[in-house]
Symmetry: C2
Subunit: 150 residues, 2 copies
């Protein structure tokens, strides 16, 4: 597991994987615009490392050769249980803006959530499983913008 942490031992790698898995992000631009505020050089570096580690693959689109699509590999998809547990933990302990009902339901149907996630991956269905609850764009606080301190 120490080896795993040499891959994921930073703030961005797992986040990138999660965003691919549950939010359907696939291109460099997707990540830039995702609201995660990741610097472009870091993003490039993390995508490279993840491909080197065999967790994602790079496939450039035939219809538009500027475009590169990143896709999780089998190995990457096998991280789904880890991410699910981390999501549940975060929701329970860290005040992510995720509605309790949604989390409770995921917690009681772990297997179903994982199955559905995998099914979408197999079919290349990129519609997000989860929206962005956390950090910004919360429903019930007035400003919604300009929260930068942490």
């Amino acid at each position: 597991m120490s080896i795993s942490l040499e891959i994921f031992g930073d703030r961005w790698s797992l986040l990138v994987v999660r965003d691919m898995m549950v939010r359907g992000l696939a291109t460099f631009k997707d990540f830039q615009e995702s609201g995660e505020d990741i610097a472009t050089n870091i993003l490039a570096d993390r995508l490279e490392r993840l491909t080197d580690a065999g967790i994602v693959t790079r496939e450039s689109e035939v219809s538009d050769r500027r475009r590169v699509n990143y896709r999780l590999t089998e190995k990457g998809m096998d991280l789904a249980p880890v991410l699910l547990e981390l999501l549940i933990w975060g929701a329970r302990h860290e005040a992510t803006g995720a509605p309790c009902a949604v989390i409770d339901q995921m917690e009681q149907n772990r297997a179903a959530v994982l199955d559905e996630t995998r099914r979408r991956w197999e079919v290349r269905d990129r519609t997000p499983i989860l929206p962005r609850f956390d950090e910004a764009a919360r429903p019930r606080n007035a400003t919604g913008r300009a929260r930068r301190s942490h």
Copy 2:
């Protein structure tokens, strides 16, 4: 979950938690001697952050006041499922030295493993659940020592 990664988004934090949970490490010295090769300043920093985050508590021993015991909180223990899944993932994909049989068995008895882990925590039983499979001290390679490159 991005919030979780602000806590665990580094190479050591999760490792410290894991070592407390499954190897029964509790003191500063335990970690220094654990073979993880973590620098003392980093260790001090991570232990402080983890206590600040409410994941471990610091309790100085009454019989020997030099000694400080770190212990996982409830919140820290709730990371057990995450760590278990990460362990399983690593064993499957990253050639840790863990025997397949052990992993298979854990995978099929997730709930039992988690129950046992929690029981030991409640009873303050610190005998390790898992030894160190990974990295050093592998049984079947001749040298065993002097492996520093990565």
